[in-house]
Homo-oligomer: 364 residues x 2
């Protein structure tokens, strides 16, 4: 593998990950005339829910579903200058031009906080875009395992580097796919958020894990995985190093969790064999999802990694993939019960979902 | 006010709330041939997040955007038999035919729980529909204050009655409006969920309030309200008994919280004058929201009431109204950061949102 770091016209970092050490030199000058990156984001503390919320008003103007021939994530070819100056790439990562978190963040309003209940901080951290392939029309579910393996390597690299940034407490690698969930660019890509706090869902999971450990001396997620394997009714796929299942209390009509059989805190802790094997089981899971309704499924794919500094021994790396599609032509909306009270109503039983996904995973 | 209780053909309860004691007798027989109500819902415990999730697979077949002349929430007139047997009504409430929670709930699967980590219970509770008016084309934002006042009375009545049901721990009155958030019926209506547990968001808010009380001897929500009034920059509207403001850490591009000036646990605890006054400020808030982009705003309107049994002195009744519309033609989606990690990214500053709503509240 060959790793090449360069800078875009406005100073943002771009990193190429090429499978072959013999890949061409990717350090092509970015000749675009770009204004400075806007980074006026801040985080505000919600004292009622004990959570941080990011306020990033500069993002309202971000690019929205451009035509394919103006795709900013394709390589730069001919007169078409994109976010990627090179004329080809395998996998490439660069800093988001419309970041929710960035190292240059300053408070929107320099006035001091008026009241102790209204804590505010600059939105420090980093937001990156991960282009999975230079081919605009090849979603990650259609890439060969060796190529997905290269994406894993990019995630590992970014997790290591972003974990070293000041104030970063958690690194979140994820993919949003499909206009149904608001994806604004069609090119196959994911994102990485380096947050300046441990996220609310992770905090809650770690709190549960802490209680479980105090009661049992065991790891909660390892016990959940063992229980799913023992039960068997919600298993979607297994491999030497990984298990994919629909959780017993799934919130979404399609929801698959993918756990390594060995407890590790994050992606960098995975062995080579585990990384290789992940590419295979992930393609199997995504293939089943696309077969489920016979159309590309909109989904969110979210890596749950341990926080950078705390509770690392309580955490258990895993991937959660879920979709808002509850039928070929119906979406699951987060309405009053979900958004107002946090109570999910799932119209599909997890056992039925797992059965359908197992059937869809098999070649027709 | 006149209150009339009756039964639908399948045994579900229906309750009419008429403004005038002289209203016609609403006890009209429901002549439809209805099968039994399906109630096969259950709740499952998510041990990782320490939350209950409802599994209600019978709801997949529920009614989806019928044409207006088949609206099941209009009064029954001529050959058009609806969920409301009477030929007119002011406000009417009835049990949902596709409930997520119901008194008849039995576990989907009679097998005992296989593992202590997979706790399951029947989805007991109750789900009701509240028709705000018999006029299909008059959203609540266009009703006269006296009529909204009658809706308040219906919420109070239902909160009292549902709180007495076995296992009910929290009563949630809410309205989902707009196809953008998945509303399947166009008739102006809200819903009431009587949950068999204290909901996750309420639990977190009460936990915050408990800590705040231990530290300060004061109520968290009363302090937040006082701080918003002292700051002033996010106030949208005030009246003798109520204050409407955009919270300092708003999650949604349009989000307004409406608090009574006096700390009360729930709707039944409001005085007559507070109930009257609410109708006026609510219409002012909804009017501002509709004026904001010059089109009826899709929104979720959610009453936060104290749990039925516990922590009632920590709670503070209030309404949270929020919208997914971040511009006239753009929606806020809950993607990876929100759905995966629980971190909201708001593209609009709360101060800008409050300013826009204040301007929109004024007659043009």
């Amino acid at each position: 593998m060959k790793r090449t770091s360069a800078r875009l016209a406005d100073g943002r970092e771009i990193i190429y990950f090429d499978a072959l050490d013999s890949a061409p030199d990717r350090r092509i000058e970015d000749t675009r005339d770009l204004g400075p990156v806007s980074t006026a984001s801040e985080i505000r503390y919600d004292a009622a829910l004990d959570e941080w919320v990011a306020i990033a008003s500069h993002r309202q103007g971000r690019t929205h579903l451009p035509p394919t021939d103006e795709c900013p994530l394709c390589p730069s070819r001919g007169d078409h200058r994109t976010e990627v100056p090179a004329d080809d790439y395998d996998v490439v990562v660069f800093e988001n031009r419309f970041p929710s978190f960035s190292s240059g963040a300053v408070p929107l309003d320099p006035a001091p906080v008026q009241h102790e209940l209204f804590a505010r901080r600059p939105g420090v951290g980093r937001c990156e875009v991960v282009c999975f392939t230079s081919d605009h029309d090849s979603p990650i579910s259609t890439l060969p395992p060796e190529h997905v393996r290269l994406v894993v390597e990019a995630w590992v690299d970014r997790t290591c580097e972003l974990s070293l940034l000041p104030h970063v407490e958690q690194v979140f690698c994820f993919e949003n796919r499909g206009e149904e969930i608001g994806v604004t660019l069609g090119h196959p890509h994911g994102q990485i958020y380096a947050y300046p706090f441990v996220t609310p869902r992770t905090r809650r999971m770690l709190d549960s894990a802490r209680l479980h450990r105090e009661r049992t001396w065991r790891n909660l997620f390892a016990d959940l995985l063992a229980a799913e394997l023992a039960d068997g009714s919600r298993i979607v796929a297994t491999s030497e190093h990984w298990v994919a299942f629909v959780p017993a209390a799934a919130r979404w009509p399609v929801e698959v969790h993918v756990y390594p059989r060995r407890q590790v805190p994050d992606l960098p802790a995975l062995h080579e064999a585990e990384r290789d094997d992940f590419a295979r089981i992930y393609l199997e899971v995504l293939g089943a999802m696309d077969n489920l309704y016979g159309l590309p499924l909109p989904y969110i794919s979210a890596w749950h990694q341990a926080p950078v500094r705390i509770d690392r021994e309580l955490a258990y790396l895993h991937l959660e993939v879920f979709s808002v599609k509850r039928a070929a032509n119906k979406l699951k909306y987060l309405a009053g019960s979900e958004s107002g009270m946090g109570v999910f109503i799932n119209d599909v039983t997890p056992e039925q979902a797992a059965q359908a996904l197992r059937a869809a995973a098999k070649p027709a």
